[in-house]
């Protein structure tokens, strides 16, 4: 079991307490391609932030690869994020004053990898994603799809066990959305990386093998979707 959540609660206290996650129990196996679906305000992003150790939870247990993620120091949390998790965000979150290749290199900088080595690796991953020609371009010189592929390359470069994607297609047109989802699917199938996608779009969720519905802070139905028939829309081919 790669990820195991037991009775996780999270309350935000901005003036008045807001109980966002109300006892989440969830298990995700190694190599799964899962989506977490829910309307806005359902707590899906909060759940993803807890999974990504970007945020902490109040009660319950979160086991990641056999380790209890609880009361970590910022340094430890940063180290886990760096080595085990790759993030893909809706708004790409590339550093605007760094070129594509420099952005991809950055996680390795924090691992203490030498400049030459990390440049080689970053170029390798950019090549894998078909961005070799764009290596020395700045984010504002690239299209949304290209930016998201750079972000995916950055997420992959540390060879993480999990990729957490928060609305990865939210800022992309439908054609590019399809490409990005195909890319994630390929990474899951070929490299065996566990991928968790948070989305509110049925079409995006349909591309994953398992759909976890979350509503009002509680896990609802968990759909097996190996045949990708959960949704009959036409957005995805």
């Amino acid at each position: 079991m790669l990820i195991e959540l037991k009775g996780v609660n999270k309350t935000y206290d901005n003036g008045q307490p807001l109980h966002v996650l109300k006892g989440i129990d969830l298990s995700i196996e190694r190599g799964e391609f899962v989506s977490i679906m829910g309307a806005s305000g359902s707590g899906k992003s909060t759940l993803l932030n807890i999974l990504g150790i970007l945020d902490n939870y109040d009660t319950g247990e979160y086991w990641l690869d056999g380790k209890l993620i609880r009361d970590l120091s910022e340094k430890q949390a940063a180290d886990y994020r760096n080595r085990m998790i790759g993030f893909v965000f809706q708004s790409f979150n590339l550093i605007s004053f760094k070129t594509a290749v420099e952005n991809v290199e950055l996680p390795l900088y924090y691992q203490g990898v030498s400049r030459k080595k990390r440049h080689e690796m970053a170029m390798e991953y950019l090549e894998k994603l078909g961005l070799t020609d764009w290596a020395s371009h700045f984010p504002n010189e690239m299209s949304g799809g290209q930016k998201q592929r750079v972000a995916i390359a950055r997420a992959l470069i540390t060879r993480p066990q999990i990729i957490l994607a928060d609305e990865p297609t939210g800022a992309l047109d439908s054609k590019t959305s399809v490409e990005v989802m195909q890319l994630l699917k390929r990474l899951n199938q070929e490299e065996g990386i566990t991928i968790i996608v948070v989305t509110h779009e049925s079409g995006v969720a349909n591309e994953t093998d398992k759909i976890i519905h979350i509503k009002d802070g509680i896990i609802g139905e968990i759909e097996e979707n190996k045949a990708h028939t959960a949704w009959d829309g036409t957005m995805m081919k």
């Binding site: 910022e74 940063a78 994020r81 950055l106 924090y110 691992q111 030498s114 400049r115």
Partner: protein, 420 residues
């Protein structure tokens, strides 16, 4: 370390505007500070230099005419000091306070002549210390020395104005020549500077020679001595009262008759000058520190804004694995690099400005009638002070930048990512 340097170099290169703005604040602060300190130093040097010409650090005693009847004598009696007064002043009663004692004879008016040129002068027998007591500045040759006194040499020191009268074409060449003064000839050993007022018509010769040539009596014109000791004005005044009283008693002068025996006090004037110097220095330091504070505020202000602006970037860095320490290290290293680089530029420009000030305003003199004074004398700052100020600004700027950096480093990544 090299990795960090490359990271910083990239960050600074890709954020040119921010780098230049921050750097400008630093450069400007240091530049102003150096200019201010330089001008301040120049003013102080000028003030002290001009003052020093009119300050005598010693005490002189002269016999004048009594203004009160005392001990059976009527007022208006001429008082003359003699060798016994010197011996008395050097004596055990005053020895703890009185330092070196020198004396000067009265003067005799003569006409010097050389190669058909003539000039008037007042020959006076003095001791080698006279040069420092009267702040004479040598133009050529030397002043009288102890051997001149011991051997009663017939040597004289002339003023530059006199030398020019006697040898208009080449006044310097008069050193070593013999000049006639009535029936006596003197060899000129030196020339001293005269100021615009041409007040100095006095021509010093060895005290012992004067006693042989002009006045074989014991009489002397004045006694001048230095003091060891009195730290305060009150202490000095107590000493002066006691000493003057004793001297006046020796000559049957009323103890409070300052005209009978007159005391010229250069000692407390000197104290006043030291006070003035201290006040100017304190004032300069306060101004300098205030300038420095404004520089520091400027730097920390920009750091604060820069750090706030970059919260999102730090959020990204944290999400992909930067620890708070890494963020802190990055910000501080960046600010040290900027402040050091631009601080150095500011310091360099400031030093150049000081040099320009020295070459322009520093060379201008203001004529105040009796003499010319320079407004700024050597308005420069030592490299040590400049470096210290720069290092201080770097350290202070870094500490000021470290506070927002510390805050940024502690923001939770999820909050930092939300910031826009």
């Amino acid at each position: 370390m090299t990795e960090l340097f490359h990271e910083i170099a990239g960050n600074l290169r890709n954020n040119k505007l921010r780098t230049v703005l921050t750097g400008f604040a630093v450069s400007w602060g240091i530049f102003l500070l150096i200019c201010l300190l330089g001008a301040g130093n120049g003013l102080m040097n000028s003030f002290l230099g001009n003052m020093a010409d009119y300050i005598f650090q010693s005490v002189s005693v002269e016999g004048w005419r009594t203004s009160k009847p005392y001990a059976g004598y009527q007022e208006g009696r001429e008082i003359e000091l003699d060798e016994s007064d010197v011996t008395y002043t050097e004596g055990p009663r005053w020895s703890p306070t009185v330092g070196d004692v020198t004396r000067r004879t009265a003067s005799t008016g003569v006409t010097f002549s050389l190669d058909g040129n003539t000039v008037a002068g007042q020959i006076s027998g003095v001791m080698p210390e006279y040069k420092d007591q009267e702040k004479l500045k040598m133009y050529a040759g030397r002043f009288l020395n102890p051997d001149d006194l011991k051997e009663r040499r017939k040597v004289v020191v002339l003023s530059l104005a006199q030398a020019k009268e006697l040898l208009p074409k080449d006044p310097d060449a008069i050193v070593g020549r013999w000049v006639n003064a009535g029936a006596v000839s003197f060899r000129v050993v030196g020339i001293y500077h005269t100021d615009e007022s041409d007040m100095y018509r006095t021509c010093p010769i060895p005290y012992t020679a004067y006693k042989v040539i002009y006045d074989t009596s014991d009489r002397i014109e004045s006694i001048t001595f230095t003091l060891n000791g009195p730290e305060t004005r009150d202490e000095y005044e107590a000493f002066e009262k006691e000493y003057a009283g004793a001297m006046r008693l020796r000559h049957d002068v009323a103890p409070d008759d300052w005209r009978g025996i007159w005391i010229r006090n250069g000692y407390t004037d000197n104290m006043e000058m030291n006070d003035a110097q201290r006040i100017i220095r304190t004032f300069l330091w306060i101004l300098g520190l205030l300038t420095l504070v404004s520089g520091i505020v400027g730097v920390s202000n920009i750091m604060l804004i820069a750090v706030k602006e970059r919260t999102h970037e730090f959020g990204i860095r944290k999400a992909i694995g930067a620890s708070p320490a890494e963020i802190l290290k990055l910000i501080i290293a960046e600010s040290v690099t900027i402040t050091a680089l631009f601080g150095y530029i500011g310091m360099f420009l400031g030093m150049i400005a000081c040099q320009i000030m020295d070459k322009t305003v520093g060379q201008e003199a203001v004529d105040i009638g009796i003499t010319k004074i320079q407004m700024l004398v050597n308005p420069t700052v030592g490299l040590d002070v400049a470096l210290e100020a720069t290092i201080l600004l770097i350290v202070a700027g870094t500490i000021a930048g470290a506070i927002p950096a510390w805050k940024a480093a502690r923001v939770k990544p999820i909050e930092a990512l939300r910031a826009e």
